[in-house]
Each structure stands twice: as structure tokens, then as C-alpha cells.
């Protein structure tokens, strides 16, 4: 099977192959100050940025991202408004969106994929769309040039992982723990064990996300993984202190994983 590698995967592979550990912060689109937070993150060492399109029923998210989603929705954020604002971001790193499947299903996979592509989005993550249901979306995404980042969970038996990896574009999202997004005191042991299992079977960059809560935990995770996704710890800073705090935090994590 020959595939043209998309922009997200090409850039992350090149950096990884040059010895750099990868950092992808998550920011809820439509949340007050979110565009400045994206710019601050990009300027502080993020290698790509994940933008949440808020959904009313985010089952994979803990309290912080739930709250951010509710606030954004209450402020009138919609998939259309968030994607319109994405066009004004003017950042150089590749962007992924994270949203739940009904946001895709409602306009239909083809139309949604085209909307992402025309906003300049490189990739998409849909956490309630498991491999077995991903067919219609993946076909539409491939056709529109959107890379679909698949999640691999610690509960996956060995036979399932290669199938997930084969369908994965951009990077492999290695779910760090059994649970939803949110900060934890410690990095779960599953974070590195799953990343190690994935690294054995794929050359696509493997990033640990969910439950990577601070610079120290990011450094632990990248001993095995190619990088980390950080969500709740970033969004909490945006909620509590604003966009500048996001920039400072991303710089701190950057420094920790570069050591």
C-alpha cells in the first residue's frame, strides 16, 4: 500500500528523526482567549496543536475540559465559528482538531472533512469513534487530505494494535491511562507500557496523551514515547490565568523534554 504522507505526519516524523521529542498541546476552540493561547503555544515550542471543537457530551473528558467545552458553547462556539477562527490563527505548526463523532456525523463525513481541509486543518482526532466504526469517516478524510489520528488504548489486546496503527495517519495517540482527560499526581504505568508496545510495531510517531499532567510527567513519558499530548493542564491554565500562562507552561514542558 502506498500512501502519500500528510503534513502532520511528515513534519512530526522529520523532527522525531532529527532527535526531537514532540509536544502537542490541546486547546478548546471557542474558549475565551483560545486563539492567543494557540499562538503562544506555537511560539513556545509546540510541534503541532490540537484544537477542540466543543461538544455538548464529551464522554472522554474530565471536569476541566468539560467545563471549557461548556463555557465555549455558552459563548456561542460552533464548529463553523471555530473553523472560521482557525483561518485567522496564522501559526506555522500543523493543526489537528479533536471533536466527538456527532459533530462529524451531523453534516456528514464528506462535508465535515472538506470543511476541515478548507480551514487549513491537517488532521483529526475523534475519540468516540473506534476503529470498527471509523470506515466512513476515514474514507472521507483520506479523500479530503485530512489525516486521521487513531487512539490506541491500554485495554487493546495485542491483535488489535496493528490494525489500529495501520489505519492511523499523523501520529498514534497512545492513551496514557484507563480514564478520561484530567490531571493526575503521577504518570500511570500504562502510559509507558502501551507506548512501548506501539513503538515495537510502528514507525509512525507515538505520542502519549490523557493523564500527562506536567513537565516532569512529560519527561517520563518521552523516555519511551516520541512525544506527548497535553490537554487538561494546558486548558486549566487558560481558564485560570489566560493565554500567557499557556505559553509559559508550554515552554516549561518543552525545556523538560529537551533535556
Amino acid at each position: 500500500m502506498t500512501l502519500t504522507i500528510g503534513r502532520m505526519e511528515a513534519e512530526l516524523r522529520a523532527k522525531r528523526d532529527a532527535g526531537r521529542k514532540l509536544l502537542v498541546p490541546y486547546i478548546t476552540g471557542g474558549l475565551r482567549g483560545w486563539q492567543d493561547a494557540v499562538r503562544a503555544a506555537a511560539a513556545s515550542g509546540a510541534d503541532a496543536i490540537e484544537i477542540g471543537i466543543p461538544f455538548s457530551d464529551p464522554v472522554m473528558d474530565g471536569p476541566v475540559i468539560q467545563r471549557a467545552s461548556q463555557l465555549a458553547l455558552a459563548d456561542g462556539a460552533t464548529p463553523v465559528s471555530v473553523l472560521a477562527e482557525v483561518r485567522d490563527l496564522d501559526v506555522s505548526v500543523p493543526l489537528a482538531v479533536m471533536t466527538y463523532y456527532n459533530t462529524v456525523h451531523h453534516p456528514g463525513p464528506l462535508r465535515f472533512a472538506e470543511q476541515l481541509a478548507s480551514a487549513g486543518i491537517a488532521a483529526a482526532i475523534v475519540p468516540d469513534l473506534p476503529l470498527d466504526e471509523s470506515g466512513p469517516w476515514c474514507v472521507a478524510a483520506d479523500a479530503a487530505g485530512i489525516e486521521t489520528i487513531m487512539l490506541a488504548a491500554p485495554t487493546a489486546p495485542d491483535a488489535r494494535l496493528p490494525r489500529i496503527v495501520a489505519r492511523c495517519r499523523g501520529f498514534v495517540y497512545s492513551v496514557g491511562l484507563l480514564g478520561v482527560t484530567g490531571e493526575r499526581d503521577q504518570l500511570a504505568s500504562t502510559a509507558t507500557s502501551l507506548a512501548a508496545r506501539l513503538k515495537m510495531i510502528t514507525d509512525v510517531p507515538v505520542l502519549v496523551g490523557v493523564g500527562v499532567s506536567n513537565a516532569q510527567q512529560a519527561r517520563e513519558a518521552v523516555r519511551v514515547a516520541d512525544g506527548v499530548v497535553q490537554g487538561a493542564s494546558v486548558v486549566r491554565r487558560l481558564l485560570e490565568h489566560g493565554a500567557d500562562a499557556v505559553g509559559q507552561y508550554v515552554a516549561e514542558v518543552r525545556a523538560a523534554i529537551d533535556e
Binding site: 464548529p79 456527532n102 453534516p107 468516540d128 485495554t155 484507563l178 480514564g179 478520561v180
Partner: protein
Amino acid sequence: MTERDVPERDVPAAPATLMSEPSDTGRFGEFGGRFVPETLVPACEELEAAFREAWADTTFRLELDALLRDYAGRPSIVTECANLGRQLGIRLLLKREDLNHTGSHKINNVLGQALLAKRMGKTRLVAETGAGQHGVATATAAALLGMECKVYMGAVDIERQALNVFRMRLLGSEVEPVHSGSRTLKDAVNEAMRDWVATVGDTHYCLGSVMGPHPYPWMVREFHRVIGDEAFRQCNERLGDVPDLVVACVGGGSNAIGIFSGFVDTRSRLIGVEPAGGAAVERGQPGVVHGMRSYLMQDEYGQVLEAHSISAGLDYPGVGPEHSHLASIHRAEYPNVTDDEVVGAFQQLARTEGIITALESAHALAWIIREAHTFPGATVLMNLSGRGDKDVAQIMELLEL
């Protein structure tokens, strides 16, 4: 199970029926599926395999039958409402799920799932609840089978169903208030799913209706099939025929699917009554939430809308996928009734028949009362899914009695 005086039971081979097994991907027509985070896929697969195996195992079936009979009090009786029937110009029969232990049909499903969970080696149950009836049933089964139990309940529902909250706590379960979103059933489902994502090793998610990811809509239907099987037999004995109409209220749709299952392959008209403020079939469009593709009330961008109903158990913007299928093939109809009509029906049944119904079940009756003039002389079987003790305080406030 040890040998006891339970009758021999042959597990019948599935006959050709409109309500057969869903497809390999859990579809009823174009509805259903398994839209869950990757973390839960192995658990859903494991549950499907365990249910399939248990359901074909006579020992499991006998054990469940014995519990349903000796613990839940099955079979539930059928009561003819001569007074109200006369007023409405119809023949009205009630299938009395309100007389089951714990006060509603929910116990049928819960005993099945709890036995199955135990067989799978799980030690803990989590559940969502709206009216609290499913929560009470789950807490009851957990107490009986020695399992740990946590029930998620929207903060709004905790207030309007305080009696059931207390019952769950008496039974030794933890009740966790849910403050996100609409703070009702929809959000309790989200929270129970989040719990399950984190605890899937030792925990079974005891889902309370014919909704959620495959295999739940199918499995929960099979556990409630007993309602329809009994009712079919009882109607045959009493009427020598099937009823002209079979009517049930629909939240997620478990009591309705249970009674429909006995009549889906007959000439009976099937009516599932939704609340006007949660009319997923009439006002919704196909959408994906809570693990399934089904009719769902949503806005122009696919955000799930909040339902509004006087009854906590029906305050849900979606509906189980098999109901969406039955609606789309026009085998069942899904009209809706207003809160006012429901309160009227609740009072009318109490005064004419001496039965205090749950507000949920009163939806089915409200539709019958409103529409009886369109089917004069018809025989109507209604599923009285639960009793109204839990609703008395709410009604008292409402009517300022």
C-alpha cells in the same frame, strides 16, 4: 446452581421475527452500532461474548428465571380496568410491572445483567439513573449478589426523586450527583461511561435501557422479553386473541421494547409514547451519542439538546436504536404527550381504578385517554411500567393538594 425445584427449561431456538439479533456490528437496520472510546471496545466485545454464551446456557436461564420468580415476583399480572375502560369506550388491560419487587420493570434487566456480571468475575456495578428506579433496582441486585455499586444521578433528578435516592443509600449503594450539562439522565449516562472507562477491569456498567453501544440494546431487550412473552400468553388466555393496540411509554425504550417483543409479529398496533419535551423520534434526527446511532434531539450543528419532561425517567433526548428502526420501517408509532396530559392521566387512573402509576407510565395512559375516541371498542394493552410512590411528593407540590 444447585438442583432445586425449578422446572426444566429448553432455551428455544430464535424464531424468525422482526426483533431478531442485530447485525454483527450491532445494527438494527441503520441504527445502533458501537461508538465508544477505544478503551471500552474490548469490554463491549467481552460483554457480547459473555451474554451470548450465558443466554444459550440453560443453567444461566434457569438461575435467572428462578430469581425473577422467587425474588422479583414474576409473572406480573394483567389487570383489566373496567371503570376507566367504560369511560373511554375501550377495553383497557394493564400489564402490571409496577407490582414487581422494587416497583418497576427495571428489575428484569438488572437481575440479568448483575448475574451476568458476576459470572464474568466483575465485583462492582455502576449505573446511571433518571427516575431512580433503575438505580434502586441496581442497588438491590448489588445488595443481593454482594457487589459494590455506584449510581450516577443528575442533580435535578436527585431533587425530584429524593425518595429513591434514600432507598439506594439504604441498600448500601453510593449515589453520585452529576452537575454537568442538563443535570439529568443524559449527563448521568456520560458520567457512568466516564467511570467505566476508568474502572473497566473489575466493573460492569449496568445500563438501564435499550440504548448505548452494542450489545446493550440487544441484551437489555432480551432481558425484558419476559414482559412480552407473559403478556402474549395472558392475552391469549383472556382474550383468545392479541390486543388491537399495545402501548408503552418510551424514555430509552426498555419497557416498551419488552412488551412489543411479544406482539411485534402479530397484527397489534404498537405505540411508544414519548414526552413532548423529549420527542426523539418526532423531533429528532439520526445522531450519535452514548455509543449508538439513533434518533436524537440536536441543534443544527449536532449539539445534543436538553430534554424537558415532568418525568425524570423520560427526560432523555434520544431513544434506543431498535425503536428508531421500528419507527423507520413503520412497524411502531412514536407520538408524544404533554406534561399536563400526563398529570391528568395520573389522577384519572388513581380515581377510577385505585392505581397510583409512575409518571413515566402515565405517558402511555395519557395517549390512550387522548386518542381513545379514534379506536372505539378496541382492546388496548398498556404496560404499566412502574408505580407512583416515588412521584407522590412531586405531584403533591404540583397540585398543591
